[in-house]
Symmetry: C2
Subunit: 138 residues, 2 copies
DNA sequence: CTTGACCTTCCAGCGACTGGAAGCTGCACA
DNA sequence: TGTGCAGCTTCCAGTCGCTGGAAGGTCAAG
């Protein structure tokens, strides 16, 4: 039950994998609570807070925006949450990802087609530039 | 051969599809040249400049960063360019896109797996939060 | 003569950091 | 005791590609 705050920000960074600067940023951004301070005004962290930092880090690695992560943390800490709410956030994020992937794939395919048709030699003729400069042929 | 600068920024915006604000931004960012001004200091655009704006717009729609677009515009205007240089830019961009798409797809798959295992009901048990909060099981 | 649409400039914010500057603090070593 | 350096503090600025707002000048119509 030790809620002791024994770690410096650098130690919390090392243990959590979140850079010290980013920890300060998350505090400033309101994602995590203001850290406790020791007499010299240095931030102090408990293992529980390191745990929270790891949570944030994993959620970021899954591409969740910080706003969603704040919500996820709230749900995480709320033992009376409904898993429905968590799933809703996840599915929303998946939908976002699908949209982005589809956009990028479409772009990729367009450029790839153009690039295939470009000789890529020392002469100027180039279907890529032709397409970009096309006088509104649609 | 008319290099007449007869259009206001609003008209150039309407003809090119690039918002007036964005045209000013492109000028400020050095993507396009400083526009000519009429007596009242309003910007004036020729059809050729509208053409350039469309070029930028199409390149943006293909996800090229503005830096690359500046280069592409240079190549576009240089009739002695080598198509090799254009293709190189395009292939570099494709590589970028592929990396991004792979990242997003991997994330998507991870979240989807987690979400499938989440009941999404009114009870708190949730594999998504379990995974995010896992105490460094690796 | 006033209204309203257009144009001008500059400043700020988005998201999620990251880097730098300037200044304290703490600890090891001579 | 000094000295050096790592680590901590704060705040400001930059990234990328816009977009919004404020405060003001200009112009044509009613």
């Amino acid at each position: 039950m030790s809620a002791d705050a024994e770690l410096s920000i650098g130690e919390a960074a090392a243990r959590s994998g979140v850079p010290a600067r980013t920890i300060r940023f998350y505090e400033q951004a309101g994602i995590i609570k203001r850290a406790a301070r020791s007499l010299n005004r240095y931030r102090r962290y408990s293992e529980a807070e390191v745990q929270t930092l790891r949570f944030v880090q994993r959620a970021r690695a899954l591409g969740f925006p910080l706003k969603d992560i704040a919500d996820l943390l709230g749900l995480y800490r709320n033992t009376r949450r409904a898993s429905r709410d968590v799933k809703k956030l996840a599915l929303g994020h998946i939908a976002q990802l699908d949209r982005k992937i589809a956009d990028l794939a479409s772009i990729r395919s367009t450029i790839a087609t153009l690039a295939e048709r470009c000789h890529g030699n020392d002469r100027p003729a180039c279907p890529i530039l032709d397409e970009l400069g096309a006088p509104s042929h649609h």
